[in-house]
Amino acid sequence: MVTIVAPLGERKPLLSGLWRYSRGAGISALIALLCFLSLYPMIMLLYGSLHSTPPGIPGVFNLDGYLAIATTENLIVLANTVGISLVKTGLALVLAVLLAWIVARTDTPGRGILEVLITLPFFIPPILTATAWAMLGNAQVGTINLAWRWLTGGDGTLVDVYSYGGVIWHMMQYSTPFIFLFVVDAFRAMDPSLEESSRMSGATRWQTFWRITLALMLPVTTSAFLLSFIRGVESFESAVFFGTPVGIEVITTTIYHSITQRAQPDYQSATALSFAALALMFLLVLLQNRLLRGRSFTTVTGKGYSPNITRLGRLRWVTFALCIAFFMVSVALPIGQLLLSSFFKFFGFYQADMLTLDHYRNVWENSGFWRAFRNTLLLGFAGATATMALGGIVAYVTTRTRWRGRRLIDVLAWLPWMMPGMVLGIGFLWGFAILPHAIPIYGTLWALLLAYIALGTPVAVRVTSAAYQQIATDIEECSRVHGAGWWQTLGRILIALAWPAFAVGWVLIFFGIMRELSASILLYAPGTEVLSVVMLKLWVGGKPEEVSVIGLVMLILVLVFRWVQLRFIKKRISTL
């Protein structure tokens, strides 16, 4: 008997009417949900950019906000922002791809541990690494410069973090592991037969890496590049710590100034500037779509494969040294500084009479910390799970179907990523506060949860869609031929095959929630504090050492999560 399977989304026989109806209802529900999560706060912000006063205050519609940003000063700020983000993303991408290839596809020793260690910087609050680097790399008394002077006997300066280089370096600490996390599982999920064919056809190892491996990784690398570039444009901490003191301003510091540094917060200019940045980033997204359109990146097929690794011979010690060097510079130095400081009375003062465990005791006895810890874990688990579920569905619709409305869904899921967090937080505040009082969102954990889902969805979609694009449609068709339904196929084929990517996305979102401050500070209420708010309170209250302790607790969580995750992935891959 021969069964002819219609293309996905174009079923005709028997239940087609019901299927089409339920599919339409599902798409509508998905669009409605995304509209609420991302379009609704954006509309509030658009209103703010076009109105002389924020919502709730009488005013007039005008374009003053947009006219106010059209200045030479802002053009310089824009050029600074784009330039810094471009350089840091480019450098981070090269480094991350290299590290991911080493970890996933070579016989470099200790790859399992290296994989965990390389990703650590991503999970540390930026405020802590900035403090650590301010101590390590300041021109006058930075540890690195003191060591350099001691070694050379001169009085020169080797590094100065208060510079363009410092801003870019600090941003790279986050971008490199972020891109690495994206890329490493794609490398792992790649069928090596394509590379083997290349080698058998006479290509060198380098030609194969360049023409086959990297080319097949185009969806995931461009997605990671875009996400990281956009996040770079929206980055705040690096610029405010290392740029502002020496006159380097970027879009987010300008927005911050217009909201918090004036007698009268200028929301109109801030939101107008954000929308101008959003337009720029939207063009980049279109560019990526154009770049990938009509090309196939399928590397996971129904034929079965066993991921193999490239034998590097003696070169494996060079790659090992490279990973260790990255770990030493980006992890050991700043984290060592944090760990050391947590045992001294003051950050950076390492005298025997200042040794103490008070910071650990204070955090342990801080009831506010434990309440926030519980809230954050709850929001982290619920938020990351819900976001990945939503992201998985959105990615499926946008990458593996031709259903109507899929482009709209893709755009809606992207929107929150393109708006700086501190501005989007205001959009959520305005949006949730004016909801009817009968809808219990404002002032509850729901407000935070919904904001986190909206903020995390773009990452969830990019992670899963990049993984879906690597999976051949014939596996799905095979599932259907054997009688599996849509949900069964989604769960038992697509998610099962893409689940390492799901796991990575879940961890990224979970720790994104743990770190998120911009929306949290505007949406939390007494009783619904989260860790980032507690850390801000401690920081502003002059307790950076206690913030370090919390940062270290978060690091331990990361290590546990990554260990469990990698064990599961290993088990899974070995059974594929």
Binding site: P245, Q261, K345, K537, P544
Partner: protein, 336 residues
């Protein structure tokens, strides 16, 4: 125009404040009603202060009223209050913020008159309460020097000493072009010494940073020898480090913090009780020992010796909300 708005708010006061005034001015009835309300929600721009928590704890113990706090930065507190009130959500009772933000919010009609609070009579000049605002503590600014880098006797003794060429490129400072201590310092120096002083200060090339806590640590570690303006209450967090706070001879710039009752506060009587408790000498002493200037008389004399002389120094001046934007623009012009 602004003054008219403020007067308008005050004129509407009797109607707005009806729930609190219904208790009359009989303080015993206010106490009883406050206890019955049982809860108080404070919106504060004082983030992570252990001293405020100590005073709140003593209030809870004294009256059995549970206090919940929402802490955020000044502009964030203001926006939350504005949005909540515009949406008809009246969740907070007490607002605690710097005098500039409080003035702006008063202009926007975010508060209701507090009614009679007995301890207001203890407030001493130059601080003064009105129907809406009650001064509650004062942040005073001086200088901070690193003792390892500045020999005894070489410290600036007058604000004018920071113009000495030996400090060129060696001053770490809060930014004068943004709201905060730097802007307060700028306004007071402008009022005291004129624009010329600030233009000369610009030639000293001060390095700006808005990360106040970290800036103080940077000076303590020896990255810079001099920091200004130094909030005296931060000295508590730096005890044990090689730094010395100094109030120059002319006196200390300061900025006042105010307590107000938010419009349609759900617990107006508990709010009045709290305001009164905040002005008790014991509460004010907690703040004074922490380095804040108290607003009531007879407290500075009881403070710990190491802080007493700093607090007893002359109040040089403060910022004026009406001129804030003009002064920020001037700061941008001078410190490009």
């Amino acid at each position: 125009m602004l003054r008219r708005d403020v007067l308008g708010v005050l004129a509407m006061a009797p109607a707005i404040v009806a729930p609190a005034m219904a208790q009359g001015d009989d303080w015993a009835k206010v106490v009883e009603a406050g206890k019955k309300e049982g809860k108080l929600v404070i919106y504060t721009a004082s983030i992570g202060s252990v001293f405020h928590k100590a005073v709140i704890k003593s209030f809870e113990q004294k009256y059995g009223i549970t206090v919940e706090m929402l802490e955020a930065r000044a502009s964030e507190v203001r926006e939350r209050v504005r949005v909540e009130q515009a949406a008809g959500r009246f969740l907070g009772d007490i607002h605690h913020n710097g005098s500039t933000t409080t003035w702006l919010m008063m202009r926007d009609g975010n508060f209701q008159p507090h009614g009679v609070v007995p301890n207001v009579k203890n407030i001493v000049p130059p601080y003064e309460a009105d129907e809406i605002r009650i001064p509650c503590e004062v942040i005073s600014y001086g200088l901070m020097v690193n003792r390892n880098l500045v020999k005894p006797g070489d410290e600036p003794k007058s604000w004018k000493d920071i113009l000495d060429p030996r400090w060129t490129g060696k001053i770490l400072s809060d930014d004068y072009r943004a709201l905060g201590g730097g802007a307060v310092f700028f306004v007071v120096m402008h009022n005291t010494f004129g624009k010329e002083f600030l233009e000369k200060l610009a030639t000293q090339k001060p390095v700006f940073s808005r990360d106040l806590q970290n800036s103080e640590r940077r000076v303590a570690r020896g990255e810079y020898p001099l920091y200004l303006p130094f909030s005296l209450q931060n000295y508590n967090n730096l005890k044990g480090l090689p730094v010395t706070p100094i109030v120059p001879a002319e006196g200390r710039p300061y900025v006042r913090f105010d307590l107000t009752v938010l419009k349609n506060a759900p617990h107006p009587n508990a709010a009045r009780l709290f305001m009164n408790h905040y002005l008790e000498p014991d509460s004010q002493l907690v703040f004074a020992n922490a380095g804040y200037n108290p607003v009531v008389g007879g407290v500075v004399e009881k403070t710990i010796p190491e802080i007493r002389s700093l607090l007893a120094s002359k109040a040089l001046g403060t910022t004026v909300p009406e001129r804030q934007d003009a002064m920020l623009a001037l700061a941008k012009e001078i410190f490009k």
